[in-house]
Amino acid sequence: MRNRNATAYRFLTPYLLIFAIFWVWPIISSFIISFQATRTVPWRFAPSFNWGRLIGDPAFFNALKNTLLILVIQVPVMIALAMVMAVLLNSPLLKARGLYRFAFFAPVVVGEVAYSAVFRLMFSLDFGIVNKLLNSIGLPKIDWFSNVTPAMALIMIAVTWRWAGYNAIILLAGMQSIPEDVYEAATLDRVSKLKQFFYITLPLLKPVIVFCLVLSIIGTMQLFTEPFLITERGGPGGGTETLGLLLYRQGFRSLNFGYASAVAYTMAGLAIAITLLQLWLTREKQ
C-alpha cells in the first residue's frame, strides 16, 4: 500500500461524484423533505406535518401490516426452500446437476415485468392454467384476484419463485466453502448425514443464512412491482398494498414528496433495525 493522495483521488473521484450526488445527498435530502410540507410553494418546514399524518393514517398502517405479513411468512419459507435446494444440489448422488441448477437458478435472470405478466395470466380466474389444473384434479377454482388472502398468497408465491434460486446460489457457495475434511472426519466417526447437516453445515453457514435473511427482508420490504402489476395496484381494495406501493402513490401519483419521504424513511428505519440485528446475531463470540 502506498500513500498517494493525488493518485488515489484521481481513480476515486469519478465514482465518488456520482455516489455523492445520487446516493449520499439524496439520503440526507429525503430526511429533510420528510419534515417539510411539500404541497405549498415554496415548501415550508413543518416538523409534524408528514410524520403526524403518518401515525394517524390507516392507509399507512394497512401498507405496513401487509408488508410485515409478507415478510414474516414469505421470507422464512423462501429461505427454507432455498436451503433445501442448495443441500440437494450439493449432493454427490445427484445426476444431471446442470438441468436442476438451470431450473432453480433461471428465475434469477427473469425481469419483474415479464414474470409479473406470466403470473397474472397463469392465475386468472376462468382461463388461468393454475385454476384449470386445480379443477382437473377435482379441486375448486380459487379467485386469486378478488379476495385478499389468495391475492396475498399469490404475491408470496410469485416472489418466492423469483428469489428462492438466488438465495440458493448464495447458500450453495457458502456450503462449498466449508472444508471437505470436516465432513470426512464426521463420516469416519459414523455421524449420520442428517446430524452432519444440523451440527456442521447449519452452524458454519449461520453468517451466510443471516446475510440471505437480511438481503431478502430488505428486498421484500420494498416490494413494488408485484403488487403493482400482478394484483393491479395493490388490489383487491388495498389488500396487497405495500409500503413501496404507498410511496409510489403518494410520491408520484399525488406528487406529495414530503409524505412519501416519511414513508421511505419508515422503510429505512426498519432496514437499519434489521441490519443492527444482523450485526448482533453474527458478532464474534468472546
Binding site: F11, V109, L172, L243, G251
Partner: protein, 278 residues
Amino acid sequence: MSSLSSARLRRSIALHLFLTPLALIWLFPLWMMVVFSTMPDNGIFSPGIELLPHGNFVDNFNNLQRDTNFVGAIGISVSVAVTYTFLSVLLTSMAGWALARYQFFGKGVVVAIIFGTITLPYAVVLIPQFIMVARDFQLANTWVALIVPPLFNSLGVLFMRQSFSMMPDDLFDAARVEGVKEWRIFVFVALPLARPMLAALAIILFLASWNNYLWPLLINSQPGAMTAPVALGTLIGLTKVSWGGIMAGAVMLTVPMLIVFVLLQRHFIAGIAAGAVK
C-alpha cells in the same frame, strides 16, 4: 459393500423423486411464458388446457408492436444497458482499485460511508433523485436519466476492491520499479488480471439495467423514451390488449438473458455469490 451401494442407490432415487417435480414446478412459469407467446389470444382465453407451443409467435409480436413500439423500446434498453455496464464497470473498478491499493487521506471515511449505507433501501433516495433529475436538471425522458443516476451502485466497488486487494504486491511493485505510471499499471496489469471478476460484474450490472423497472418507469414515462420493461408494463392491465403480444414481449426480454445465463453460468453464479463474501 453391496448393501452400502444399494442404500446409496435408494437415497439417490429418493433424491431425484423429490427434486424432479420441484424442478418442473420451477420451470413451469417459464415454459408457460413460451407457450402463451405462441398462442392466439382466443386460445389463451379458452377453457381447454394447453401445455404445448403453437405457431402464433409472429402474429403475437405484430400485435405487440401495434400496442406499443416495442422494437424501439428494446433498442433503448439495449443501448442503455450496454452503456451503463461499460461506465459502471469502469467507475467501480477504478474506485475499487484506489481503495484496495493506496493509502490516502479520508480513506476511512469513504469506506465507512459506503459500508454504512449499503443496506439502506433504494426507496430512500428515489424521491430526491427524481426531483433532482426531472426538475433541477430537466433530464426526464433522456438516456442520461436512465444511465447516470443508477451508477451510484456501490456493490461493484466493494467487489472490485476485494478482487484487487487479493492480488500480490510484487506484481505491481515490479512495474513501479521500471517507472511505469500508476494508470498504466491499472489498465495493463491489474485489469487483465481481474478479467474473470470484471466479467462477473459486467453480467450482473447488465442484467440489473436490462430488468430495471421502477426508476425508468418514473423518469422516462413518455412513450418514445420508455425502456422495454416499462413499455411492456404499460400494457398489463389494459382491457383491450393482446396478451399473446405481452407474452411475446416477455419472451423477448427473458430468452436472451436465459441464453447468456446458460453460456456464462460460472460468471453469473460468481457474481451473485460475491454479494455474500463481503
